[in-house]
């Protein structure tokens, strides 16, 4: 009879799952390439404000991070509820910022030491007093390039 009518009736052939690993590996590689390992766990609340005129921070090796915010619940007993500065893994006072920057700068390769950016990741409820102190410290160690890290969004959402 016809060449195309050879199927057994009623039986659906099993779907081959042989390519499933390939698909999953593809997903895996995608996530491996787009994500970065967390280098320090946050001990402060860190909800960044929004801004629309942002520039991307390319080249992660040229960035030093400073986190500012209220200590999280577990650390509240130890450090109080006033906003604090987190450098690497510990909460510190503004006077330690300078030393931290110098230390981090010394760790970077020679040719990058002059082009470093300090990324300030500040919680939106922090007050400017602390930020001014940090800025003053940064000026003392000549780390003048700063980036106020924000989320991309409408800046007027900050005011609510």
């Amino acid at each position: 009879m016809s060449k195309f009518a050879k199927k057994k009736d009623g039986e659906v052939p099993a779907v081959s799952t042989a390519s499933l690993p390939d698909i999953v590996f593809m997903l895996l590689f995608f996530f491996m390439t787009v994500t970065v390992m967390k280098d320090s766990s946050l001990k402060v609340e860190n909800v960044l404000p929004n801004a629309s005129e942002v520039k991307k921070l390319e080249k992660k090796d040229r960035v030093i991070y400073i986190y500012v915010g209220k200590p999280t619940k577990e650390y509240e007993k130890l450090f109080g509820s006033e906003p604090k500065i987190q450098l690497n893994d510990k909460l510190s006072s503004p006077s330690e910022v300078g030393d931290y920057i110098l230390m981090e700068r010394a760790k970077k390769p020679q040719e990058l030491q002059n082009v470093l950016t300090t990324a300030l990741k500040v919680d939106k409820n922090a007050s400017m007093g602390l930020i001014s102190d940090i800025k003053q410290e940064l000026r003392k160690v000549n780390a003048l390039k700063v980036n106020y890290t924000t989320y991309e969004g409408d800046a007027f959402n900050n005011l609510q």
């Binding site: 895996l28 970065v36 390319e58 939106k124 409820n125 003048l144």
Partner: protein, 201 residues
């Protein structure tokens, strides 16, 4: 049929499970970093050797108090009006040397964009989010003006040109070409945003 040549096939059925395990591991240990923000330069700590005399009319003073209220050029204004006000100030071109300015040429306001300075002052108790919003608006004012000029000269947005220039994936030849254009636009409206030290009272 007896198998003689070749080892029996290894089942690949569990491969997916292994890969899923790895996938889930990477999903939970990593975060997609938010690494965008407002770039700013802090002023150097040593004051310049020579005292620069700046005319009062070339300074656009912005004050934020601890309640988040805004004083721009001795006028209490709303945050949403700040961008327009800053643009009007920068684009004024009072002395007539600026050929591309479209402002009102008010003699009481700034002479030309290269002399116009925006000075931002805040209280110690100002909220950071308010400060960022103000910074954003001021940077936005510069970007708007630069976009306008870039559109006029190159039919492109300045922000896009700069982003392409800073993108590490852009080719070197393209970069070289963009560098000049970006520099030219930046010189038309140089970003002079001074951040005074915070007042404590």
């Amino acid at each position: 049929m007896a198998r003689r040549a070749g080892a029996p096939e290894v089942s690949a059925g569990s491969m997916a499970d292994i890969a899923f395990l790895l996938l889930i591991f990477f999903l939970v240990t990593t975060t997609i970093e938010t690494d965008a923000g407002l770039d700013r330069m802090l002023p150097p700590i040593e004051p310049p050797d020579t005292d620069v005399v700046i005319k009062q009319k070339n300074i656009f003073q912005v004050n934020i108090n601890k309640n988040g209220q805004l004083l721009a050029d001795e006028e209490l204004i709303e945050l949403k009006d700040l961008r327009e006000k800053a643009k009007a100030f920068l684009d004024n071109g009072g002395d007539g040397t600026c050929s591309y300015c479209q402002g009102r040429k008010n003699a009481e306001s700034s002479d030309n964009p290269s002399k116009a300075i925006i000075s931002l002052k805040n209280d110690r108790e100002t909220k950071y989010s308010t400060y960022i919003t103000v910074q954003n608006e001021l940077v936005g004012a510069y970007n708007d003006l630069r976009n306008r000029e870039a559109q006029r000269l190159y039919n492109k947005n300045f922000v896009d040109m700069e982003a392409e220039y800073l993108n590490p994936e852009t080719d070197d030849d393209v970069k070289e070409e963009l560098k000049e254009k970006v520099k030219r636009i930046q010189d038309l409206f140089p970003q002079k945003l001074s951040e005074a030290e915070t007042s404590s009272d």
